[in-house]
């Protein structure tokens, strides 16, 4: 199968993720959409790695996974602490600092 198709898939997943970040209102779902974007990046790296015949992209994918895991740790800590103090994870409710 032509590896370019995986690039189209990666771009599609990235777009779905980005649209989700902009549209969804639950902080957890927004965060999942960000993770989807990171995974789309991974797919693009691996597909390019296959096309170029070097392993850089696959190594980078490992780094991205670790970074995504670290981001989950920090992000869930913050979102859960906000949820516990407000009983809501909606990003619309977090508006104490509007002009």
């Amino acid at each position: 199968m032509n590896p370019v198709n995986y690039l189209y898939l990666a771009a599609l997943l990235f777009t779905i993720g980005a649209a989700g970040v902009l549209i969804r209102r639950n902080a957890i779902v927004v965060f999942m959409c960000v993770e989807l974007m990171l995974n789309a990046c991974n797919l693009a790296f691996v597909a390019f790695s296959r096309m170029h015949g070097n392993l850089d992209g696959q190594i980078i994918a490992f780094f991205t996974m670790v970074v995504a895991a670290a981001e989950v740790v920090v992000g869930l800590a913050i979102i859960v602490s906000v949820f516990r103090s407000r009983h809501s994870a909606s990003v619309d409710d977090a508006s104490l600092m509007k002009l």
Binding site: I78, V91, M97
Partner: protein, 550 residues
């Protein structure tokens, strides 16, 4: 490349026996500044685990300051050893550049961090509660605001001394960021300094709901922007077949001798290059807070604990502009006719938007946030110059700006009422009558922000605008001067408010800080005046440092 050939990449070694893998060559001495700070961060985490609660604060403060000072000494030693000029080269297998701009910015980040650590450690602003001195950070970050658990933590006199190692991790990431010489290192450094900052934002002792809200906004938007940056990295990797800056620059220039047939599909594909470059620029412009990626700045600056705001306003900007400079000057100079119009627009929007919206602000931290957006625009004007002067003027501006910022936010922590810091501007009315010294110091910082002669702000702005004008960006200079004039209006307005209006009866008090915050403010004033009155030595230093290694 055929399927079997690709497949053989990871199968032949297993079939034919394992080849010796070359161990990477790491120049530890030249990476010492980063390694010292990272080591201190790890040791700091261990201190949290093993040192009794009473001694942690002193141990952490001591460790942080010593490590930052040692790292700064290492930077100075490297610069004195010629690594900033003649011996500039790439360390750690080409991942990290040791050159003039990197060392200069690392020095600035480290010095800024030292004075920022002092504000983190300030424990005299609030009265002693339950027999313990308290700082700006939550007694227990995990406890729900207003809950029994929080009251118990406050009563027990807990303090979040973890902020010191967390901050050291952030500093380590910032040290790598302007020195990163491949896109993977760039991304990892970005995350290493961003993740600790998200946590620090959530840890305010007072107004905790606002602090947590700031953290959630910063985190979601920061993660969003770094995903864009990563996709840009992926596209540039697809374009050049490598993430190393030198290799990408060579492919952009078309100076790669032998084009691998497998690369022919993607290498000539300018769509990958343009979209990828734009996405990486987006990620970096988000971090510097340039319009239209500035949305997070006011909320995060306002909600975060003020010492953290000062730290990230100064150090993040230095690190992110360092990375932006390296990207534009080393990787994408071949694209300058493509990105210049875009950056022109971004710089103009950033300068005008920051200056105009700041006028309407009523909260001092938000006002400083919009002022930082305007300053990002001024610095961008220097970045766009695309000349040696452009690099050195940006380096100088960043050095001047970071100390003023840390100092200004340190002054904000001093003006307090019953609810903690009194950040509403109306509360600052008549401050000059109540506490002439604090008001005068703040006035110096505001004048430096406004770019009044004899302050560092003037020298910086002059250098940046001169470089921009010489670099053919005259229009930017005109817009820059206009928005400086607009910005001067609201800085002067705060000064007028402080000195020429009657203090209110229920106005805030000015806390008497410990020598720590005094040192921060003192260093800020000293740097402001020295760089304003005698900038030549530092301008020379910046121009000597203004050559990137490739």
């Amino acid at each position: 490349m055929s399927v079997t050939a690709v497949h053989s990449l990871w199968t032949t070694t297993a079939a034919e026996g394992i080849d010796k893998i070359q161990a990477p060559k790491i120049e530890y001495a030249q990476l010492a500044p980063v390694l010292i700070v990272l080591g201190a961060a790890v040791v700091g985490i261990l201190l949290e685990a093993f040192v009794p609660r009473k001694g942690r604060y002193y141990a952490q403060l001591f460790l942080s300051v010593v490590a930052l000072a040692a790292a700064f000494a290492a930077v100075v030693a490297l610069a004195a050893g010629g690594y900033g000029s003649t011996k500039a080269h790439l360390a750690a297998m080409g991942a990290i550049a040791v050159d003039g701009p990197a060392l200069f910015l690392q020095g600035v980040i480290l010095l800024t961090s030292v004075v920022a650590v002092f504000t983190f450690a300030e424990r005299r602003l609030d009265p002693v509660s339950h027999g313990a001195r308290i700082d700006s950070f939550a007694a227990e970050g995990a406890s729900v605001p207003g809950s029994e658990g929080e009251k118990a933590a406050v009563k027990a006199g807990f303090t979040t001394t973890e902020v010191f190692p967390i901050m050291m991790f952030a500093v380590a990431g910032m040290l790598v960021f302007p020195a990163a010489n491949d896109l993977l290192t760039l991304f990892i450094a970005l995350e290493v300094f961003s993740l600790p900052l998200y946590l620090l934002c959530a840890l305010a002792r007072r107004k905790r709901l606002m602090s947590q809200e700031a953290a959630v906004k910063y985190f979601l938007l920061g993660a969003f922007s770094s995903a864009f940056l990563l996709f840009g990295v992926a596209l540039l990797y697809g374009y050049a077949g490598s993430v190393s800056y030198a290799r990408i620059a060579a492919v952009v220039d078309g100076s790669v001798g032998t084009v691998d047939p497998v690369l022919a599909d993607t290498m000539g594909n300018d769509a990958l290059l343009l979209i990828g470059g734009a996405m990486i620029l987006m990620g970096l412009l988000f971090k510097v807070g340039a319009v239209p990626f500035h949305m997070w700045t006011p909320d995060v600056y306002q909600g975060a604990p003020t010492p953290v705001t000062g730290f990230m306003a100064a150090a993040t900007k230095v690190a992110a502009f360092g990375a932006l400079l390296r990207l534009l000057y080393v990787v994408l100079p071949g694209l300058r006719w493509d990105f210049r119009p875009v950056m022109f627009g971004v710089a103009i929007l950033t300068m005008l938007f920051g200056a105009v919206v700041a006028i309407t602000q009523t909260d001092i931290k938000r006002l400083l946030a919009y002022s930082s957006i305007a300053h990002a625009g001024f610095i961008l004007a220097g970045v766009i110059a695309m000349s040696d002067d452009g690099i050195s003027s940006v380096l100088f501006y960043l050095a001047a700006y970071s100390f003023v910022t840390v100092g200004a936010f340190a002054v904000v922590t001093l003006v307090r009422d019953a609810g903690g810091e009194a950040t509403h501007l109306s509360k600052w009315a008549g401050l000059g009558r109540r506490s002439p010294l604090v008001a005068a110091v703040f006035a110096v910082f505001l004048l430096a922000f406004a770019g009044i002669p004899l302050t560092s702000g003037f020298s910086g702005k002059f250098a940046v605008f001169k470089a921009a004008a010489d670099g053919g960006a005259g229009a930017l200079v005109v817009v820059g001067v206009i928005s400086s004039a607009i910005a001067a209006f609201f800085y002067i307005r705060v000064i007028v408010l402080m000195f020429f209006s009657e203090p209110k009866a229920d106005g805030p008090t000015v806390a008497v800080p410990s020598p720590l915050t005094m040192a921060t403010i003192g260093v800020g004033v000293a740097v402001t005046l020295v760089l304003g009155l005698a900038p030549q030595y530092f301008l020379d230093l910046a121009s000597q440092a203004g050559v990137f290694v490739r």
